[in-house]
């Protein structure tokens, strides 16, 4: 797998949460702007969001109110019981029943509200994720190819998968966390104050202690998490290196050395791994302890206050619950900054891609090129074409050429000379700067891109195949082709023989990256695909560079049949394959330096002749 296709690793995340405390979060470059954009984007759902928020607040309030109500029942029970002992009365069953029923009603209501709220929210966040994914996927097809030449595939890929996923999950959580945590904290505070301001004060002392502890844990675990990430990256790198170089390791008997290297990293990974885990794991016991501290304090002080008669026995029970429920929302609020940071970072990367510049829109004209004229002396015409990949750096200067139908144009030159540029212009992967390209007498910019491209059969150096059977991959050239047509195309491309030696033959599933067939075999498959597509103009861009010359010669025989009556553009670094071309364009450092037939160019003794000779330099021995 080449560097280009790797997904950029992101810090390891625990599933379904913002990660353990102390895990450093990624930061967005423009936090405010991104959040603003995201809010605008979510504007479509503002009413749904409003309902969600109202439901969440209501549900939380009912829940928070519960213990208070329960305390009344307990107090009544206690007082009634005491009265009974003293012989001065009894338990008021009716009152307790009424209170409990009301309480149950509140709880049910709260559950229903929470469910509806969660249900709607799940829908919103999934819809947003889906929409983002879809927009990115469609955007990919509208972005000029140069973007993909400049950016790693893994980068875009991680936007579609990791970033959208992070965003979806965080959206689902963060809004609710903010709303419910804030409501819970306020609600509990109000409730506690209504019971006993003094006890509330004691409970609040817990807050700064919790804060300090949280800070301590975060500060100390961060170092180990960073270490852990570092060694994890290192060990993964080692694994990848060793597995891809497996044969060499074996051929050089390096197994033991490799293993001891690996063990060294593994040991360091272990050290930083358990330390980071342990330190972040300290938080829960500490928070529990503080919770218990509050519990004990409330029990003792509450009891003293009960004796004074300033609070009721039920209030202690309620208070204990409130103290216990207090730490969780605070913890969540503490983590919300992390959550928002990673949300913004993810959203930023998505927006960045969606805001990329797009290709010029297609014209409305929808006439197809299908009506190819035979013997058209000007089927493809380049007229004073100027072009440069970067503005101001023109690499094609005033290029003109008329190609009659059925002719073969070869483009040759050293690696990096820009041979592919002409083809890219012709297929409108790039637009000319000035001048124009005509196909069948019409400027290619007046065709719809898809109509234009339908007429080119293309075999590229880059052998793109997808995960699927060999049959499906060849059929990509012509989706309606029968099995027999596919097999015939494979035969014409000299791919049939090797396909039958593979396990399951045509039904063999190519894996990701199609690494279970060789480079040369991949090329044969893409040739078969182009043969099957059967288009009027052929473009072969180093189509046979990984195929041996004998097979190449054979394919060319097949191609020759195919090319008869078709216009073709052949890019090659092996000059032997282009000798028979009608016109040879010789490129050097981006410029077309010579053009003419093989004989003409040889007799001109220019750059082409030099190139040609260098191939056949004699062995000095």
């Amino acid at each position: 797998m080449s560097e280009k296709y790797k997904v950029k690793p992101r810090p390891h995340r625990r599933i379904g949460g913002p990660g353990p405390p102390g895990m450093p979060a990624e930061k967005a470059k423009d936090f405010k702007g991104t959040i603003k954009k995201l809010l605008i984007y979510m504007g479509n759902y503002k009413y749904a969001m409003l309902i969600v928020s109202i439901f969440a607040v209501a549900g939380t309030i009912f829940n928070v109110y519960g213990p208070k109500l329960l305390s009344r029942a307990i107090t009544e029970l206690f007082n009634g019981y005491m009265a009974k002992i003293m012989g001065s009365g009894g338990i008021d069953y009716a009152f307790i029943a009424k209170t409990l029923l009301f309480l149950l009603f509140l709880y049910v209501l709260s559950a229903v509200l929470n469910f509806i709220q969660g249900f709607i929210m799940a829908g919103i966040s999934q819809k947003i994720s889906y929409r983002f994914r879809q927009e990115i996927a469609e955007k990919i097809n509208r972005i000029p190819l140069k973007y993909f030449e400049a950016n790693a595939v893994g980068d875009v890929l991680s936007r579609i998968t990791n970033d959208v996923d992070t965003l979806g999950q965080n959206l689902n959580q963060s809004i609710l966390i903010v709303v419910t945590s804030v409501t819970t904290i306020i609600g509990i505070l109000v409730m506690m104050l209504s019971i006993s301001p003094l006890m509330t004060l004691i409970a609040l002392v817990i807050l700064p202690i919790t804060g300090i502890l949280l800070g301590f844990v975060v500060k100390h675990s961060q170092k180990y998490f960073t270490d852990y990430q570092k060694y994890l990256g290192k060990i993964n790198g080692q694994i990848e290196e060793v597995y891809t170089g497996h044969n060499i390791i074996k051929a050089y008997n390096r197994e033991d050395m490799t293993i001891s290297d690996f063990s060294g990293t593994n040991d360091r990974l272990y050290e930083s791994g358990w330390k980071s885990q342990f330190i972040s794991g300290l938080m829960m016991p500490m928070i529990f302890f503080i919770g218990n501290l509050g519990y004990v304090a409330v029990a003792v002080i509450g009891s003293i206050l009960t004796i004074n008669g300033s609070i009721q026995i039920g209030d202690i029970a309620a208070f204990i619950q409130y103290v216990r429920n207090f730490t969780q929302p605070i913890q969540q609020i503490a983590q919300i900054t992390n959550l928002l940071q990673s949300t913004a970072a993810a959203a930023e990367r998505i927006f960045e891609f969606l805001d990329e510049e797009e290709e010029v829109k297609d014209p409305d004209y929808s006439g197809s090129l299908k009506a190819m004229k035979d013997n058209d002396s000007k089927q493809v015409v380049f007229e004073n074409v100027h072009f440069g990949y970067e503005p101001g750096k023109t690499i094609i200067n005033d290029f003109s050429l008329a190609v009659a139908s059925g002719k073969m144009v070869a483009i040759v030159g050293p690696t990096g000379a820009g041979k592919t540029t002409i083809v890219k212009l012709l297929m409108r992967f790039y637009d000319v700067e000035s001048g124009r390209i005509l196909v069948n007498g019409r400027d290619i910019r007046d065709y719809k891109r898809s109509d234009l491209r339908q007429n080119f059969g293309m075999v590229l150096q880059d052998t793109w195949l997808f995960k699927g059977t060999i049959m499906e991959n060849i059929r990509y050239g012509k989706l309606a082709a029968t099995d027999t047509e596919v097999i015939n195309a494979a035969k014409a491309a000299y791919a049939h023989r090797f396909i039958t030696t593979l396990p399951e033959g045509y039904q063999m599933e190519l894996n990701e990256d199609a690494s279970n067939v060789s480079q040369g075999q991949k090329q044969l498959l893409t040739i078969a695909r182009a043969i099957l597509a059967d288009n009027p103009i052929l473009i072969l861009d180093e189509a046979t560079s990984s195929v041996d010359t004998r097979t190449e010669a054979r394919i060319q025989k097949a191609m020759a049949n195919l090319m008869a009556g078709r216009t073709s553009f052949v890019i090659a670094h092996r000059l032997s394959t282009t000798r028979d071309a009608d016109v040879i364009l010789v490129m050097r450092e981006g410029d077309i330096v010579e053009q003419g037939s093989h004989e003409e160019l040889i007799s001109a003794s220019g750059f082409y002749a030099e190139l040609y000779q260098s191939q056949f330099e004699q062995d000095p021995t």
């Binding site: 329960l70 206690f78 149950l104 929470n114 999934q126 879809q134 044969n247 885990q277 342990f278």
Partner: protein, 608 residues
Amino acid sequence: MLKIFKHLEGLGWPALVIIALLIVQAYAELSLPQYMSEIVDIGIVQRGLPDMPPQLIEIKEAEGVDFSRIQLDYLLNKGSIMLAFSVVVMITAIAVSFLSARAGASMGRQLREKVFKKIISFSNAEIDRFSTASLITRSTNDIQQVQMAMIMSLQMMFKAPILGIGGVIKVVATETGMGWIVGAALGIILAIVIILMAVAMPVFKRMPLLIDRLNLVSREILTGTNVIRAFGREKDEEKRFESASTDLKLNQLFISRVMALMMPLMMLIMNGITVAIVWFGVRGVDYGDMMVGDMMAFITYTILIVMSFFMLTMMSVMLPRAIVSAKRLEEILATKVSINDPEKPLDEKLKTVPLKGFLSFENVSFRYPGALEDALAKLNFTANPGETTAIIGSTGCGKSTLLNLIPRFYEATGGRITLDGIDISKITQAKLRSLIGYVPQNAVLFSGDIASNIKFAGDFITDEQMIKAAKVAQASGFISEKENQYESEISQGGTNVSGGQRQRLSIARAIAKQAKIFLFDDSFSALDYQTDVALRKALKQYAKKATVIIVAQRINTILHSDKIIVLDEGEIAGIGTHEELLNSCEAYQEIANSQFSEEELRGKIAYE
């Protein structure tokens, strides 16, 4: 999942200690509500006098006796006991966290090491079976998954049942006659969980598949932008993406909605239980079966029980992922390596007589596992020492496969390969490979520096030998141009040097090994013609006595070989020198014709 544990050691005692600690912790944690109830029932109701009936206290207080001092003492006493138990809870929890973090990390370390060692021992047949990409994911992500699950299990899996059982014991001990409420609650929860699981589990299990699918489609679209546009398949690809994306959306939506149902439902059940306990508790208190404090403790116990039960169900949601990962690792660990050393290797035989280097293929056939036809069929030839044997043929004719049989990357499926008459499967792989200098088609370098790459065969290579090897491989030129010479850094995969330089370093690496047999798998194709020629000349000089086997595509490269073997569709189509083959072998003529025009061929021969 459990199978994986038989590969691991040193996890037993931490697990036992963790269990012991958790029992202590549960005891302390469950004691708290009990003291709480005593504080209410005795501390408040009875003014801290456990044995005095409330009526009597009332009377005495009316008489002017002040119990507040006794009461305060009682409260503080009980309070400090509670505090002590809280400290115990915290300390045990920290200890558990320490042990589980270490045990989990240790498990990860052991698994990583075992899996890595196993994969190193794999032959190419096993690697092909899994694919390198899959082996990488298994060694990284899957181990990570298992490790995380292990840590969580140690912390929660043990804790939940211990706390749960402890809670039940406490509930029974309160003798309130309300144990049935707990039973009923658990029954209801269990029913709900089972229903939800039955509905959600299959959907949950599909999740990773759908994510993989989306990744795959996206990656294909991204890597194939130009092909997709050339074929005008944008809409088809968008549809393909949409279907993968929609599947994922629906799946995720369903899961989040089930979760959205689960949470409020669980809350409702907990709250409902509290209400029920109070309702039934009222009668118990009224009839004198229990006190108010008992009831409050009862509520706390019930919540603890329900919580631990809930924790268990959460684990059962998380575990399947780890189980899948563990299975994928187990698959690797359980794989039998297909190429093994013989029990009684004949290495000694090679030691006593100096190796001559006659490498013979005797009726050798090879078929890839599951393939319909042989990739190589009945090959017979001998490569002699001091000679260059070339193998040429079309793509996919089996040239590289043939070469891979010699260092036993693959095992011949028929016939035998001998070295000076000894079957190579009768000597150890290490011995065999120590004799071979192998240069692969794709030059793979390793991170380090140039010296560490050339000296890859071992420390026995001196600096002089390294420099000599670099010279032969025509690499000394560009190395000397580098600032740090032989200490110049090489990044992973050798991406910081050009393809041609990578190839030359890879050749230098083989030469430095001072092998008896050199295998070049189309190793010269990345070199320009001049370098190619100079290199072969230097090599011929350097390795006069060695057996050299070259796989090539260009006739130029092999023109002067002592023996050329033409492979065609897995069979030998001809053996001979260039001139002989040009006259006798049709396949060879085709290759030659494809590379040179008639005149050039004639010219070349005339030149000879």
